[in-house]
Amino acid sequence: METESNPAGTSRQDELYEEAASAFGPPLERLARGYEADPTRRRDLLQEVHLALWQSLASFDGRCSLRTWVYRVAHNVATSHMIRDRRFNARTLVGLDEVDPPSTEQDGERLVDQHLALEKLVRLIHQLAPVDRQVILSYLEGLDAVSIAEITGISPGNVATKIHRIKNVLARRFHDGGRHGQ
């Protein structure tokens, strides 16, 4: 475990954390939004992610990139949060093929407003089971199939298939304005 301090009084762990927080701060906030709808609980989740990240970086040995490390910790903390959450047990989460378009008053209208598009996207993500959620959130962050595979543990081929499905689901649900199946 790396605990040596430099003259400034910060350890390697602290430096790595600051580097990670600076580079991945906004992605981590977006990731938390993909897992938790309630703003207060989301703030708690985000703090939990940061704490786990800082603690884990004491053992960072470069076996993977800092990005992979950060996303793994973040997704795993968030998944634990989902499992612990009682609402998770009361609600059925589904895979990409079964996800329903969120029913909104704007259904049938073109979603030209970014805010509406984002709200609808978030509601769609919140219906997904953890594995599909991890893939779609990583895809939206612009990660390629190989990186997503390294983070999630699913093969790159499988990730590519899932991304293809994600694209179809997004195109269908959003282009049709939620009139899927008509």
Binding site: T10, D14, Y17, E18, A21, G25, P26, E29, R30, R33, R43, L46, Q47, H50, L51, A52, L53, W54, Q55, S56, A58, S59, C64, W69, R72, V73, H75, N76, V77, T79, S80, I83, R110, L111, V112, D113, Q114, A117, L118, L121, P130, V131, Q134, Y139, L140, E141, G142, A149, I151, T152, G153, I154, S155, N158, I166, K167, L170, A171, F174, H175
Partner: protein, 202 residues
């Protein structure tokens, strides 16, 4: 920008306004210490409750003259000690953040579900069952001892009925808890199987 295409949605996602939650290193250290303290207090509460039960039944061993009651008390004490040991082992298996980075999401998710499933399957075995023999012998010994008392014959039927009703109620609660836990464990097992299938495809 086309907000409706997958690429457009990815841009919408990445361009969403975020409030940078500044988490300083001092805050993290403080939170880490608070978390450790919370775990320490939780463990202390569990151990304190066990000490109270052991103290009570230890006192009964010394207080009651009936050998069967004393045997029941000793079995309850042994059952509580077994529970404490199980709690300690379970507590030691707490996930540490490093494990989250060394495991892929699929592996980690599976482990979490497996841990919950085992906990549900095991609660009856390590939390309730160890107390059953002791409580049964203790209550039965208490019944016999009560019936031996000078005033008991007038109330024999009432004492016996009360004892059996209590025993049946306890049995039903234990079985009910066991069934509910088994049902929840089966549900988790289905999720684990689905993850296994995904892992095999990979």
């Amino acid at each position: 920008m086309d907000n409706e295409s997958p690429n457009g949605l990815a841009s919408v996602w990445k361009e969403q306004p975020v409030q940078r939650a500044e988490v300083s290193l001092d805050q993290l250290r403080l939170r880490s210490r608070k978390l450790d303290r919370r775990v320490w207090w939780r463990n202390l509460r569990e151990y304190a409750a066990s000490v109270a039960v052991i103290g009570t039944f230890g006192y009964y061993i010394w207080r009651f003259p009936a050998p069967m009651v004393r045997l029941g008390c000793a079995l309850v004490v042994a059952g509580v000690l077994f529970m404490v040991h199980s709690l300690h082992t379970r507590g030691a298996a707490r996930t540490v953040p490093t494990e989250m980075a060394f495991r892929s999401c699929l592996e980690f998710h599976r482990e979490q579900l497996e841990r919950q499933r085992d906990l549900l399957r095991g609660v009856w075995r390590w939390y309730l069952l160890p107390l059953v023999p002791g409580m049964a012998v203790f209550l039965f010994g208490l019944l016999l001892w009560t019936l031996e008392q000078p005033h008991a014959p007038a109330h024999t039927r009432a004492i016996v009925i009360t004892f059996f009703l209590t025993a049946v109620a306890c049995g039903l609660v234990f079985v009910g808890i066991g069934k509910l836990n088994q049902w929840a464990a089966r549900k988790l097992q289905r999720e684990i199987d689905a993850l296994d299938a995904l892992g095999r495809e990979s």
